[in-house]
Amino acid sequence: MVCERCNKRPATVHYTEITNSKKQEIHLCEECAREAGITGFGVMPQFVLHNLLGGLYEEQKAPVEPAYGRCLNCGLTEQEFAGRGLFGCADCYTSLRPAVDQILRRVHGTTQHIGKLPQRCGKLAGKKQELKRLRRELEAVVRKEEFEKAAEIRDRIRDLEKGLEGGK
């Protein structure tokens, strides 16, 4: 992870801020943290945070801000979801995106569907999914250090990727 302020050095100081039950994580390198007057992991006073990040955060977050935390289609908020554990409509999955990723990872350990596809998705989707599956398999064989098998899978991935590019 790279420091969010200088975007150069690795982030080693991590700070979590919770305001209005919204969680925000800030990751900085030691140098930037020192400049901002933070030492160690103590509580950082609000004004220092503003000092430090100032417009930087505003600028980055501003364009997404209105959509964040509320489904654009059905209006379900993250808080409402947290209360009942049910989404309101199919669009919630994209509208409440950061939260959705987190939840799916916690429940299933992944966010990538592998399995049946509706017919209307067509062949392309099937190939993309096959690619996903192969990449996952590749990771597994590499972890097991079965390199011959890995090479085989890698070739299949290449072929498939070529096919996908050609098909477009």
Partner: protein, 364 residues
Amino acid sequence: MALRETLADPHSYWMEGGGAEEDVVVSSRIRIARNLATYPFPHRLSREQAGEVIHAVRLAVERPESVKKVGRFEVSLLAELTPVERRILVEKHLVSPDFLKGDPQEKAVVLRSDEMVGIMVNEEDHLRVQCLKPGLALEECWRLASRVDDELEATLEYAFNEEFGYLSACPTNVGTGMRASVMMHLPGLVATRVLEDVVSGLSKLGLAVRGLYGEGTRAAGDLFQISNQITLGRSEDEIISNLTALARRLVTQERESRQGLYQKQRGALEDRIFRSYGVLQYARVINSEEAMRCLSDLRLGLALKVIQIIPLGLVSELMVLIQPAFLTKMAGKELKPFERDMLRARLIRERLQSGKNGKYGSKK
């Protein structure tokens, strides 16, 4: 068979014997969750929208091509069924207990006449297609459910996203939307206290175990349902083959436990089996807990061939038949607990008698 008859008849196809590993595996079930892209999920539907969803499903199953490929389905609004008939659907495992909550005008049950495939409309998701078969048959169940799914998809536009798969009201169902489960009779593992270890091991593998009728309560009749928890990031085939392999291992362990018990405590085990058989044959009053325990012993006795008087399927059938809703339906009126226990005892006596006379069997 029309739905009315289904509800009057205790016999379900999935109870019929003959399925693979029937001495241990009672039935297999696949359930898939599907939603329509253009409607909010059921808990946020207006009554009018709920009606539209039901209508869309009705049109989809009544298409001639669909009827030709996957058979004829009957659509019934939950509101058209009496409270007792609704409970029977639950006791036959054709709908979930949760399905009975909420406004019955907004829900429909779609059932193929052989009860092997059914669709709950507007439960937690717009559609829950389920397929039930006797014995260990997850693959066959999946093939059938998937075919029904294909037919529905010809006219219904599902909520689907290439990354997350089939979208569902609850994030625990997203991805394949598939829940596979097997119902197992595990008296041997219960008696040898191996089951506790098995249960904790299973949860580590992303599988869940629960008793037949209640969650949290002790399983009635030593029946347990084992199902997958994870629905995202694994294909249907993977989930099914894992669960099938595990069920096979449990079958082996259960058989070993049974044999072990039989060898070490033959006298005690035979006594328990025949004593339970005696109670079932002669009791005049029996509550459902005792009945389930005795039926479990009898099922074990039949599987071990300690006793060979009736088919296994009859015991599975009795396990459903003696539940309160069935008895109420049979009596045609609400019963006091004592009356119910009397009726239960009579019913068991009569069924066992007809089973012994070889009069039990498929009506289809």
